[in-house]
């Protein structure tokens, strides 16, 4: 899956879980500071990403996913 596809998929997930408009989910945005996705919602986003993208995102990694780009890059790099 390309980076663009991952970003699009992630935007849908963030919209479903946190109600943020998908268009707002851009690479440079910070989940907590810009998108108002708190650390508990991040857990739900991560779990949904695991299911939809076929990746494993351990707890230790979740803390490093500060921006949308962090998440997109991780998912793109770790897809099975």
């Amino acid at each position: 899956m390309s980076q663009e596809d991952v970003l699009a998929g992630l935007a849908i997930i963030v919209n479903e879980i946190a109600g943020i408009p998908a268009e707002s989910v851009k690479m440079e945005k910070s989940f907590v500071d810009d998108l108002d996705v708190d650390s508990l919602s991040m857990v739900e986003v991560v779990m949904e990403c695991e299911a939809r993208f076929g990746v494993t995102i351990p707890d230790s990694e979740v803390k490093n996913l500060n921006t949308v780009a962090d998440a997109v890059n991780y998912i793109t790099a770790n897809q099975q």
Partner: protein
Amino acid sequence: MVELATAPAVSHAGFLGLGTYRPERVVPNSELVERIESSDEWIVERSGIRERRYAGADETVASMAAAAATAALTDANLTAGDIDLVILATFTHRYATPSAAAEVSALIGATNAAAVDVGAACAGFAYAVGLADGAVRAGTAKRVLVIGAEKISEVIDFDDRGTAFLFGDGAGAVVIGQTPEQGIGPTVWGADGSQMDAIIMNPDTFTAGKEKTNSVLTMQGQTVFRWAIGSMGDVCQRALVAAGVTADDICAFVPHQANMRITNSLVKNLGFPESVAIARDIENAGNTSAASIPLALDRLRQNGEVTSGDLVLLVGFGAGLAFAAQVARVP
């Protein structure tokens, strides 16, 4: 070979009464926000909690448990002398020994009762219900007082942004005994000790005593949240199947009141019909660990959201990590 006799088994066990105790002192979020540089809005958004109760300086796990037990006995139309087993679930009893259950038995006059504490943290009440159900049906005990009681305010780190606002004090109790039909479904339970660090006292009690420092509760919030929303849905589903019922048969869902966001996630996951009442006592009680399920159930009953005979789904989960779930009938 000499055969051993067994106590006479009985076919069915269930809840005979329910009682609770909430301490008087109300602690709103505003009292806690300064030390953690937070806000009422953030706490409500994060956890669903607006206020919680703290026990007074002269109150203890045992004294609160005794009050809840007395209320449960009254509700069941029984006296303390009728009880032959007291099981008390807690992690905040002030003594490693003797048990809080023994102390409570003396306080209420349960002179015919065996007494034991159960240490399964937030799953403690559901664990104790499972143990009591088995004890009654096997004939080990006739009338069991199951109590969840906590004074978590004693072990909170008020400077910890992740936990300072979560917890409250209180107690809830049920009397379990023989009933005409089965009132407690099979208990689905388990534990994962590999995650013992996820919720743990720090430092441990003995170290704290020697170094003359406070042992406080610590929690890895995201890890616990992930475990709860990821695993407890399946546990609940298995508890329904084991009891031979479906979500449509349930009148109320009473999860341990850990966090409103966990409750919401589980409700979505389990697909309860709109008619099912959801326990949201956490809004005013905070997370009271082993006391939270009976407190939440009692609130639903007082609000008229459940009535005698209704089926409810109970699930406790927390430090251990440990969990237990069962369907039960409201007394």
